[in-house]
């Protein structure tokens, strides 16, 4: 027992210094899990993107090549898909931020029960599978669906509008799925805002819209930024909504990556596309955060990145 035991104890006491006390060692299982599953998988994806593909599928072990990335940059179809994905993400984010702000503001101002209803609705939506959220819009948006029969029935349009299978349908589905994240992020920030500031502005003669634009919106920027980052980075690489609510011209980089993995078994190319998508999205987000930090109100980007 002697020798190994004391070495164990020495190791433990070293760990204790580092970890505060022995209970700190409880982080080890989850840290090991994240390293093996999360970091391991991402590193393997990165490695996969440097393998040479083979004609009969998957990859050639032991090879290193930059060809997959070179192909991405020169392939005008895939570049078009990337640009489309970014544009889709930007449109969805802009709409969701406006709608989400109004919703969060209403929840913040609403009294007890109505506030619970408003928040409860987005919380329920947050939990629901993306497949269900997207599927729900099919009977609403189809040519003889609910929206069109309302529009035609009221005489607003002469014949049914194409919504399903268009970018409009995809944007509606994505705004719907991103809304809870923006609402909750903005609401969390608004709860720490002092309403008497807004009242003071109004007592001094500011109109309602102006008091909101000049007092509430600047204070809500950390929430708008956090919600906006989520909405952008998720809708840019959306998969389910473009497939079900869009047409082939609404295919995103995620749709293409999925095709490479599951249909053509071109894993190195899928991996390179995934890596490219992450780099582009992170760059856009980083530039946005830097711009808001530079030109926005002070302290809004603290804790991000």
């Amino acid at each position: 027992m002697g020798q190994p035991r004391s070495r164990l104890q020495a190791g433990l006491s070293l760990a204790r210094d580092r970890f505060g006390n022995r209970a700190g060692l409880l982080v080890l299982p989850i840290v090991a899990f994240e390293l093996v599953v999360f970091v391991g998988a991402l590193l393997y994806l990165l490695r996969m993107s440097f393998y040479a593909p083979t004609p009969n599928g998957l990859y050639q072990p032991g090879t290193w090549t930059l060809n997959n990335y070179a192909q991405l940059v020169t392939d005008s179809y895939l570049q078009g898909r990337l640009l489309f994905s970014l544009q889709l993400g930007a449109v969805v984010t802009a709409i969701t931020l406006v709608v989400g702000f109004v919703y969060a503001y209403a929840a913040w101002r609403a009294g007890g029960r109505f506030r619970a209803v408003l928040l409860g609705a987005v919380l329920v939506e947050l939990l629901i599978s993306i497949v269900i959220k997207v599927y729900a819009w099919v009977p609403l948006l189809s040519p003889n669906g609910t929206v069109n029969s309302l529009l035609v029935g009221r005489g607003l349009v002469a014949e049914p509008v194409a919504l399903l299978g268009t970018e409009v349908g995809v944007v509606i589905g994505l705004v719907y799925s991103m809304l809870p994240y923006v609402v909750l992020a903005v609401y969390a920030v608004l709860t720490s805002l002092d309403w008497s500031l807004v009242e003071a502005a109004r007592d001094l003669g500011a109109s309602r819209p102006r008091s909101i634009l000049e007092i509430v919106v600047p204070q809500a920027i950390p929430g708008l930024l956090a919600g906006g980052i989520t909405a952008f980075s998720w809708s840019t690489v959306a998969f389910a909504a473009p497939s079900i609510l869009g047409s082939p011209s609404e295919r995103t980089v995620a749709s293409e990556a999925s095709r490479f993995v599951n249909t053509t078994f071109d894993w190195p190319r899928a991996a390179a596309l995934g890596v490219e998508a992450v780099i582009v999205v992170v760059l856009v987000v980083a530039v946005t955060v830097a711009l808001v930090g530079r030109f926005g109100p002070a302290d809004t980007t603290e804790g991000l990145l």
Binding site: L42, V102, L184, V278
Partner: protein, 268 residues
């Protein structure tokens, strides 16, 4: 004065419209599930429970997917709760500093990572390890995306613990484990169970990772819904979606009881 009233009316109207925007699609799913006809229209023309009957008594593939979903959700809830709770308590006990910051960052990093990238990465990685398509792969994948929520929830619960009771127990001679077991754990138990329910809901409804990691024999309900949708719109999808929504609501009730809607809204 009149302009202001008009503004208020417009604002209220738009809030109700937005609430409708959030709630209506959920109602559509539930309403179309009790349709008597195979075409999915809202509002349904005739009501019947025939597709529920079909789900529970006839369709073997949906029942198999139901079983797969249960296995994966239960496995995920257990693994994520154990890892997340230990991790939250561990980081709570860690001395402040770079190590703690690095660990907390690592633990929440899977959250902002795009799901498609996680799905791609796990798919090729698990294929290499030879476990792609197994329940283990699905449970590990779902644990990866749900454990940050468990961690965040339990961390929030720990801030409400009366730590003086812990000190008192230690002063009276309890070991750390005894103090945790007898004094701290009873104070966080409800929160830990709630966190496990959240993990179970998220796993039941997770789609993209399940799509990439499952095979024909392990596919979960959202994956089978997806496959069904690719062919044609099927009322069975409404039935399964309604059941999944009801399961989420049922599991969410205890969570709301523990935290309250308002606190939960700020937590997630």
């Amino acid at each position: 004065m009149r302009r202001r009233q008009l503004g208020t009316v417009l604002f209220r109207a738009s809030v109700w419209l937005l609430l409708g925007f959030v709630v209506l699609p959920i109602m559509v799913v539930v309403a179309t599930s009790v349709s008597a006809t195979p075409d999915v229209v809202f509002p349904p023309e005739q009501l019947s429970l025939r597709y529920y009957e079909a789900f529970f008594f006839e369709e073997a593939k949906w029942q198999a997917a139901f079983g797969n979903s249960m296995i994966v959700a239960a496995g995920t809830a257990v693994l994520a709760t154990v890892l997340g709770t230990a991790g939250a308590y561990g980081t709570w006990q860690l001395a402040a500093g770079r190590l703690r910051n690095a660990i907390t960052t690592l633990l929440v990093l899977p959250l902002p990572t795009p799901l498609i990238v996680l799905a791609l990465a796990l798919s090729v990685y698990f294929a290499r390890l030879g476990i792609r398509g197994s329940y283990l792969a699905l449970i590990l994948g779902h644990t990866l995306v749900t454990v940050p929520f468990v961690y965040i929830v339990v961390r929030a619960v720990l801030t409400r613990v009366d730590w003086q009771t812990h000190e008192a127990a230690r002063d009276l001679g309890a070991t750390r484990w005894q103090a945790f077991r007898a004094v701290v754990f009873p104070q966080i138990r409800a929160g830990v169970v709630a966190a496990g329910f959240v993990a179970a809901i998220l796993s039941l409804h997770e789609f993209l990772i399940a799509l990439f990691l499952s095979d024909f024999s392990t596919q979960t309900l959202p994956v089978l819904e997806w496959t069904a949708l690719r062919n044609f719109v099927d009322p069975m999808v409404s039935v399964v979606s309604t059941l999944l929504i009801l399961a989420a609501l049922g599991l969410a009730i205890p969570v709301v009881v523990v935290f309250g809607v308002d606190r939960l809204a700020r937590l997630l």
